[in-house]
Amino acid sequence: MSILVDKNTRLVVLGMTGRQGSFHTRLMREEGTNIVAGVVPGKGGQQFEGIPIYDTILQAKLAQDANACVFFVPASAATQGILDAIDAGIEVVSAITDGIPMHDMLLIQEKLKGSRTRVIGPNTSGLITPRQAKLGIMPSMAYKPGPVGVMARSGSLSYEVCYELSKAGLGQSTVVGIGGDRIVGTTFAELVPLFEADAETRAIVMVGEIGGVDEERAALTIKEHCSKPVVAIIAGSSAPPGKAMGHAGAIITQGKGTFESKREALQAAGVKVVRYPREVVQALREAF
């Protein structure tokens, strides 16, 4: 078991023939991912290392019964692509793309309501169920199959944490990068019930950081809906008080977003909060 993606995932790679797209298509395949199609407008009918290429997501979906997409296209093309994926009824969209304008995400968010699509990201390292499906850019060497569900805001930090976990023999059920942007398709709070419902996941690691209120929101969900042990690592505890986001920003977050605010909220939900990757391993060992 796992969440969102596994060996039944039928993946379409957007921008398959580009520099990043082609490099990571190979790496995702090496992880065991079932890549059924690529989409590159204008190259429909061609192939990339045996994988058929289509002009549109819908064509790929129709021809290959695809149910997931990963985006290796620039921001200027990604918004339309995500809207197309929602329109086509793709179930999981891993939006690696960095730099999607915030107001585009407002549009995407409204379109997501009433759709069947879950968007992971944007500006994410993607998601991986080790040895089954990888829809992202994370270094495979850091991951092993196992019982820990990981969700992270920062890609690089999640690599480090998973690498430590793997070295310590604590493999991962699924690792999801929610993305670093202000508006993301899927929040920590929305992933908690999925990990809770997944039989293989025995504990959850949240890789958070200062800023935003996503960790605080997740704390509420964990408190009410999660029976599994949760460990959170929050980066940025030593950061000086943030650059002002204007009064409106400060008012609306009302003191949330700091390390202390996140630690308090999470501890109140029974979450063990740490600062450094090694401590995650230790806390998990205590929890198991």
Binding site: H103, L106, M245
Partner: protein
């Protein structure tokens, strides 16, 4: 990208939001023009243009009666630093007779991930404290973009917050224009504070803030043009996220914001302090790495450099190649102590390249931090 007050005001004015008469001044020569534009009657207020709060308390705002007085004060303000930000321009504006100070702002509500309108009858410098201590003095309305900002929502806020009836129409009008500006300029923050009631029963934006979405600049040529004035933005164009903490002594070069923050925490744990972050995750290039390394080498406050990278999208062999090229161009040797850790995609190749060039390279994070602690001991 946070805009200066005068830039924000110029944009808001295009949307019909009332702002005071005024002119930007960078030296004595343009003060006369500002005086002429404003007129003797209501001359004038000098306001330091800096991208930080607390400018009034720091002495960055002065009221003057005459041109000579303004000429006298000008050099003091232009020379000052406010919270480490040097002041190199002023906004000279008309004096207003202010009866009341209100607050109006638009930003993204992090709970709903939707735009939110904020309104308060108790605006001015202490608005954050007001919001905390008197939450009932702050009204919020979460906006669904497909429905827009309905007039009745603003009216309800105004009524509920006890705004005098005579101002409801003006509040609806200005809120509508501010929301339009927020959407069309693709802002992340748009704020009028204080939004002041003058003796004429009308409202005017005495101070304004506008932050626009860096990611959307490509479709706003006129905003993109403003970017040149901001060092951090010009670095961003080279794929570098740069944050200058303005104190500390360790320069950090990392891939990814989370890793950067972890490294900063580890530096703090070791008893030192990070001076700046350089996150190269948005597109690795020879030019980007070279700019980053030059900045770390030249900034006098930086005593040593930590490079900590765990690459996914970024390939560590590429990183090593670009770093070595850059160092070669700088004279063959990086001029400050530098500790490097490379992990992730193609890391082994990268590490070998850096080691062969004579640098101290780690595989594991602990190893990097042990080396760093050694370095600290040596320097103390």
């Amino acid at each position: 990208m946070d805009l200066y007050e005068h830039q924000a005001k110029a944009i808001f004015q295009q949307y019909g939001i009332p702002i005071p008469r005024g002119l930007v001044v960078r030296d004595e020569s343009s003060l006369q023009a500002a005086f002429d534009a404003i007129g003797q009657e209501s001359f004038g207020v000098l306001k330091a243009q800096v991208l930080t709060g607390g400018r009034g308390k720091a002495g960055g705002i002065k009221v003057v009666d005459s041109l000579p007085q303004a000429l006298e004060l000008l050099p003091n303000i232009l020379g000052m630093r406010i919270k480490e930000f040097p002041v190199d321009s002023l906004l000279v504006e008309e004096r207003l007779h202010i009866k009341n100070e209100y607050f109006m702002g638009l930003t993204i509500d992090p709970e709903a991930s939707l735009p939110v309108l904020l309104l308060s009858p108790r605006g001015g410098m202490d608005i954050e404290e007001v919001a905390k201590d008197y939450p009932s003095a702050l009204g919020k309305y979460v906006i669904h973009p497909s429905r827009g900002l309905p007039s009745f929502a603003v009216m309800d806020l105004a009524r509920g917050l006890g705004f005098p009836h005579r101002l409801w129409g003006a509040l609806i009008d200005i809120a509508g224009k501010l929301y339009k500006a927020f959407c069309q300029e693709e802002a992340t923050l748009a704020e009028l504070n204080p939004l002041a009631e003058t003796t004429g029963d009308s409202l005017i934006a005495v101070d304004s803030r506008l932050s626009v979405d860096d990611n959307a600049l490509f479709r706003h040529p006129e905003l993109n043009e403003l970017k040149k004035g901001f060092k951090e933005m010009s670095l961003k164009d080279k794929g570098l996220d740069y944050i200058d903490l303005r104190t500390g002594e360790v320069g950090l070069l990392c891939v990814g914001a989370g890793m950067t923050m972890l490294t900063m925490d580890l530096v703090a744990q070791a008893g030192a302090k990070a001076r700046c972050f350089l996150d190269v995750s948005h597109g690795i290039s020879a030019e980007g790495l070279s700019t980053a390394l030059e900045l770390l080498a030249s900034e006098p406050g930086i005593k040593c450099v930590l490079v900590n990278m765990f690459g996914g999208l970024s390939r560590m062999d590429e990183i090593a190649t670009f770093m070595l090229q850059a160092i070669e161009a700088m004279g063959g040797r990086f001029p400050k102590p530098i500790l490097i850790r490379l992990q992730g995609t193609n890391a082994e190749i990268g590490r070998r390249m850096m080691m062969e060039a004579g640098y101290v390279v780690s595989t594991e994070l602990e190893e990097l931090m042990d080396n760093f602690k050694e370095l600290l001991k040596g320097t103390k």
